[in-house]
């Protein structure tokens, strides 16, 4: 299986921690229902499937379709939207530099606590066996 989750998470999380300070932002690679602090960022690989057009007789998996969902949560009393947008902009730059395409970005209400502002993005790419990332 072609797996670049670790590299992707580390790249984005490092950029966020460098910008905000490791103790000032929470970044996780899996769903967390109660983040220990805010702002919180969840970067989760939601899809990793064989790219069908890239198959050959020798090896079925030469390329893989990957999709990451990024959720940014801010709980500030004022400026939560500004904070979430600044964070998602930084994340977006990182994904774009890696070669991903943003296929979705919208504010999505946070059902479990409406006082928390939430922005959700999805990024897609095709990844080769050599871990080269191709835009879709």
């Amino acid at each position: 299986m072609i797996d670049i989750e670790n590299q992707v998470f580390t790249t984005v999380a490092t950029a966020l921690r460098n910008e905000y300070g490791a103790s000032n932002i929470y970044v996780a690679g899996e769903y967390v229902s109660q983040p220990p602090k805010f702002p919180a960022v969840l970067i989760v690989e939601m899809d990793n499937t064989v790219h069908l057009r890239g198959r050959d007789s020798a090896n079925i998996e030469n390329f893989s379709n990957v999709m990451y969902q990024v959720d940014v949560f801010s709980n500030k009393n004022t400026g939560k939207k500004v904070q979430a947008k600044a964070i998602i902009t930084l994340i977006d730059d990182q994904f774009a530099q890696m070669g991903f395409t943003r296929t979705f970005l919208n504010p999505v209400q946070n059902m479990n606590d409406a006082t928390i502002y939430r922005m959700t993005a999805r990024y897609q790419a095709v990844v080769g066996k050599d871990q080269t990332i191709y835009r879709r």
Binding site: M111, N112, D113
Partner: protein, 164 residues
Amino acid sequence: MSKVISLTLDSASIDAAIAELKSYNAWVKTKADELARRLADMGAVNVSLGYSRAVYTGLNDISVTVEQRGVNSYAIVANGEAVLFVEFGAGVTYGYGHPEPSVEGVPMGPGTYPNGKGHWDDPRGWWIPGGEHTYGNPPSMTMYLTAKDLRNQLESIAQEVFSS
């Protein structure tokens, strides 16, 4: 898939070829629309089933329709207040309480009213404003998976449409 139009260099044959070409052009337009419509209809069924089966503890009010948006262009439209929660997940809860203390200066936690005995961290779930009970839900990704599925099937569906 190929189409051969034969003609000789005389006006009658050229006229016939032009007529045949126009007819072929109309056929391609009809088939292109049929292909787009077929994909949208298949996708709508898939999306509708996916959303109806998704894990969601609130009121699942999602309805799915196909709308024509232009020439050979159809959109699968999901309506309902639950759409984003089902597609992208319910989100998070506070893990530690509201950052603003109450008027009395006592820290407040979500769901801690009254007397600090709330259910925000209850494994049996909690109640959200509006009176609905929830455990939260993961993203169903129904639209995303349907789009991927249609892309994978596109070639075979196109062959089916254009060969009929």
